[in-house]
Symmetry: C2
Subunit: 130 residues, 2 copies
Amino acid sequence: MFILNPQSGVPIYRQILEQVRRMVASGQLHAGAELPSVRELAVTHAINPMTISKAYTLLEAEGLLARNRGKPMTVVGPARGAARGQTPLNKRLEQIDPLVDQIVLAARQLQVSEAELVKALRRKWEETDE
Amino acid sequence: MFILNPQSGVPIYRQILEQVRRMVASGQLHAGAELPSVRELAVTHAINPMTISKAYTLLEAEGLLARNRGKPMTVVGPARGAARGQTPLNKRLEQIDPLVDQIVLAARQLQVSEAELVKALRRKWEETDE
DNA sequence: TCAAGTGTATTATCGTATCAATACACATAG
DNA sequence: CTATGTGTATTGATACGATAATACACTTGA
């Protein structure tokens, strides 16, 4: 369910935070959906259960997840009042903005043209087309 | 010279590593070029001199920079007058690849379309057009 | 010569991130 | 009731990232 890279420099619990936020915003994790158990994730990703628990706790404090003692964490959001589906596009784009900043900075420092950057992006997009 | 974001989750010294690698690969930092002093960077970015020194030390171990006792760090590279251009495009693209992975993953988790992603990218590209 | 500029070593402290092993409180299927 | 499944608290340990304050060796311009 998650794609975690311990070598990336980004703390594991932060990778989980970001990925849950995204999947909730997109509706891939709808309200009421259950998240993988901490022990299951700990095994499949070879990480410590408490690391995942930390992420879950923060997501609860954020209002995205709900604790159910004895049962799996469940998704609370997105916005109850609004359409039960996705967050508006501009809100979703906000979440991706820091990455856009990063990649544009990197491309400019590498003197990779906008066209080449877009090409690399499209290439990766096709590769991950499943 | 560097653009550092302490909140990004990426360690500062790693941000410096990556940015020097990029600017050397693109030729923006040509062989023999001097880098900013650790004390100057420490002041302008409000970070500790030893954090920068750590990055410089690692870049020397990597073979990209040379220590000159009493003088600034310099970029190691092909002899002056020799072909000291950019590294080939595909090599530069390799450096940007992890970021491409990240952003495509994020876009798919957010269910942002390829078209919208490219649009956001072009928008940011224009903004940073200086 | 000397003052100001390099990078770096040293020692110490602090906060964060992760792991390990254990234990607890609760829910639910059998 | 019991076994198994939730998340979490606890304690302790290790590693990393960053800071702070000095001090050193070296170069260079005045």
